[in-house]
Symmetry: C2
Subunit: 210 residues, 2 copies
């Protein structure tokens, strides 16, 4: 089993390779990949070695071939339909983020309980009534949900997600530990940006470049 | 030297302890802490052991004592003044996030180049003209900057940050690798939420609970 920290770095390498390919860069060394992802060349080679041998030309990796391999490892070669629950200031900012689309994750719907927001368009998607969550998720084959509702509403949303069999993964921005009442396996990642500031103050005091 | 992945988890444990203390919970076991942070009790004990011995009563850790210790490790016991550069949809959503204030990071200013936004109040802070960046950063003793400008504006911002000696840490949301031209050590953390979706699809396909 691959450690999660390695998977996180592989995701970073892939995002970086996407950007290099956009600029027409055909080859990248482990040193360059390390600089862009603020890791070390040894770490890059160690992480990639989990997944077998990667063809390295004299001066580095073929960016096209390496991205294809990393996409297969992360199961990212298919397109995923994603929804955002909570079309408030965070939800609407995420709906407009081009980075999701660039990586094959299409935000196809937002959900909200506020009548003023229902029917609005944000980014490429429309805001639907949370009452129609189950129907819309099925119709649009939505497999991932991003949570951006206030803390107070989390229990209702946990209820909905427990019953929506289509949803297989959750990116949670609400600062609580969510628990679903369901037997199906659902991957959950919590994001807390305040945590990043804790890490930043640690790095500042250590005088380290991260 | 403590591995970065350990520092990231310690930040997660501290955010979780903050929430438990808010609910008046006085003791927590490594099992409960692991459940809340989606790690394992062994991982919790291993991470904490980097930093010395932690008093464990028969049933677990004292939440107050443990938070104090982790705050000291992360150098989070002092208050930090933070600014956000780019008061658009992401910047304004972050300015309103209560989580920063709860952890002792005060967003005291936003900066923007759009005259329509300058002078507005977002969260607890006002939007200043980016032209006055250096003066405001000095006057308000701002040590950290969160970047939320479009890709196209990043070079101007790198210029500004290179010259602003007060700034010691950067939380970067712009999907590029930022490089500062300065000798002083500046800690930089890149955040790319699209990367989180890559990890989510990996976990879904592995059928793992994360
Ligand atoms: N993790 C982070 O770093 C981070 C950063 C910013 C915000 N947040 C969190 O994200 C959440 C949203 O923050 P925000 O600033 O966008 O808040 P907001 O109030 O602007 O938006 C919340 C939206 O959720 C909708 N809503 C409320 N109850 C609902 C329900 N039952 N079903 C559907 N929609 C519902 C509201 O109508 C509103 O549009 C909060 O929990 C906040 O703490 C987290
Ligand atoms: N990393 C992530 O996961 C993530 C998620 C969402 C958005 N983003 C990124 O965050 C950035 C902001 O996104 P957004 O949706 O808020 O965009 P936006 O257009 O809504 O906001 C950008 C703001 O920056 C201001 N600005 C432009 N040039 C400036 C300059 N030179 N100095 C000061 N202010 C300037 C604009 O006036 C505007 O208010 C983008 O780069 C986007 O790619 C990243």
């Amino acid at each position: 089993n691959v450690p999660l920290a390695t998977v996180e770095r592989v995701a970073k390498y892939l995002r970086c390779l996407n950007r290099l390919r956009e600029k027409g860069i055909k080859v990248v060394s482990s040193k360059e990949l390390a600089e862009h992802t603020r890791t070390s060349p040894e770490q890059v080679r160690k992480d990639l070695s989990y997944f077998g041998r990667f063809g390295k030309t004299g001066t580095g990796y073929d960016t096209q071939k390496l991205s294809r391999k990393l996409e297969r490892i992360l199961k990212a070669q298919r397109k995923w339909n994603v929804c955002i629950i909570g079309a408030g200031s965070l939800g609407s900012a995420l709906a407009r983020y081009q980075g999701f689309k660039d990586t094959g994750y299409n935000v196809v719907a937002l959900f909200d309980s506020d009548p003023e927001k229902i029917g609005e368009k944000m980014g490429q998607a429309e805001v639907y009534d949370i009452e129609n969550f189950k129907d819309v998720v099925k119709k649009k084959d939505i497999k991932m949900a991003i949570l951006a509702v206030p803390k107070e509403s989390i229990e209702e949303i946990e209820e909905l997600l427990s019953k929506a069999n289509n949803i297989r993964g959750i990116l949670n921005f609400v600062p609580v530990t969510i628990k679903l009442k369901t037997r199906r396996k659902v991957a959950i990642i919590d994001v807390d940006l305040a945590q990043k500031l804790y890490i930043l103050s640690y790095l500042i005091k250590r005088g380290r470049e991260m």
